[in-house]
């Protein structure tokens, strides 16, 4: 039974069948909101999907065998791990999960950026390397508040299971921790003001500079899935509706995710890009400050 349920959550909801269109929709929504904020029409509705198909249909550049292999496997690993992370999301807190799945979720979410770092280095491009090192620094920086915030939730709920955290974390802790988590999302999604890792005007396309056609398509796919995974994580922790019927839970999950996309998009449209050091400093001071206060509140209430 658990295997079937696991497969369903990996392949159907909130997994592949839901997450792919949802990820493309969120990417489109972000671009559309950005365009509207600037007074433009913006991309047509199916844009990210067509981008993906087009890239997949391009002829791959011939590369040395090992490099070509790595450049295919790394984005694939990013796609797979992000999909796994999505499958673990506690949309139905009472239905699934196992104790300690939060640790697994965090590790799976981290595989994506790690692959991006490695992918940048194996592409043997100077700018890929710079993008990768920036990505690595940023990963280090945002993970401080990210992990502290999650740990505050765990401390408050007294459980390492996602479902347990979603249901049991105390509200003051939860609010503070979620603020810290939301602040981390723009870094992972390369959104302003924390988009130093993909600063086109400085380092071309960062770690994906040398990726072409199908290999780039996989990165785009991983990116789309990251949207779902991260907004979904916040959505499922912010409004756990444990007792409602399943359609209600799905609607709440989707609605909160989309609302989060809207907020992040407007935030991105109204800011400039901070430099690497500025971003790192922000996360180590402000981001960690919020997360630490969540932790303190959690311990005080215990």
């Amino acid at each position: 039974m658990t295997v079937v349920r696991g497969l369903i959550s990996l392949l159907v909801f909130p997994g592949a069948l839901f997450a792919l269109p949802a990820g493309w929709f969120m990417m489109w929504l972000q671009r559309k909101i950005n365009a509207r904020a600037q007074g433009r029409i913006g991309p047509p509705f199916f844009q990210p999907f067509f981008d993906f198909v087009k890239l997949l249909a391009k002829e791959p550049v011939v590369r040395p065998r090992l490099q070509g292999f790595l450049m295919t496997v790394l984005p694939l690993a990013a796609v797979a791990s992000t999909l796994g992370a999505i499958a673990l999301l506690p949309v139905f807190p009472k239905a699934g999960g196992f104790s300690g799945d939060l640790v697994l979720l965090v590790s799976l979410i981290e595989v994506g950026p790690l692959c991006a770092v490695l992918g940048g280095f194996v592409s043997r491009s100077l700018y890929g390397g710079i993008g990768a090192s920036r990505e690595a620094v940023l990963t280090l920086a945002y993970n401080v508040p990210f992990l502290i915030a999650l740990f505050a939730l765990v401390a408050s709920a007294g459980s390492f299971s996602l479902a347990g955290v979603a249901l049991a974390a105390a509200w003051p802790v939860r609010v503070l921790a979620l603020i810290a988590l939301v602040a981390c999302i723009p870094v992972k999604l390369h959104l302003n003001p924390f988009s130093a890792a993909s600063a086109e005007q400085e380092i071309y396309a960062g770690s994906t500079t040398e990726y072409d056609g199908p290999r780039l398509a996989l990165w785009e796919l991983a990116h789309a899935l990251e949207w779902v995974a991260l907004t979904g994580l916040v959505a499922s922790l912010a409004f756990p509706v444990a007792d409602a019927a399943w359609p209600v839970r799905v609607v709440v999950f989707v609605a909160v995710s989309v609302a989060l996309v809207v907020v992040l998009s407007f935030a991105a449209a109204s800011t400039a890009r901070l430099k690497l050091a500025q971003t790192a400093r922000w996360f180590l001071l402000c981001g960690s400050g919020i997360a630490l206060s969540a932790l303190v509140v959690a311990f005080v209430r215990l």
Binding site: G39, R40, P43, Q47, D51, Y204, G213
Partner: protein, 166 residues
Amino acid sequence: MSLLDSLVRTARRRSPWLFHLNAGSCNGCDIELVACLTPRYDVEQLGIRLEASPRHADIIVVSGPVTRTTLEALQTVYAQVPDPKVVVALGSCPASCNMFAGSPTVVGPLDRIIPVDVYVPGCPPRPDAIVAGIADAVAILCGDVPRPEPTHVPVVADACATGGLS
């Protein structure tokens, strides 16, 4: 035509990514291409994106009469763009070297170096003409319109090294 084929065609039609290459232009065409991104013309409505890396691009937009010093980089960039690709020549300079014809440091026109598919007339073309020209290039890219027969004679590759061209 299979379903997959038509899907790929549609995807190519609706997601052309550009790489802009300034081969010694006076900036006129370049700023008009930048103006294409702005609210009034907004090429993103056609799914067009200006890409930073030639590896991501489908359409190479070239401006300028191709100077000796940009020749090598131009050929590298052309080779870096994965197939299928289309080349758009922006304005009079890549089409004919314009007023720079006869200059000892200009090796154009562009079709002597790489095959050109679409010429957009103007000096510089208006942004709406650039958008329309790119739309014509997209029709070639996705196969709706046959690619024009190449007229270029790729002899310029080593002419620069020997200094044979003037």
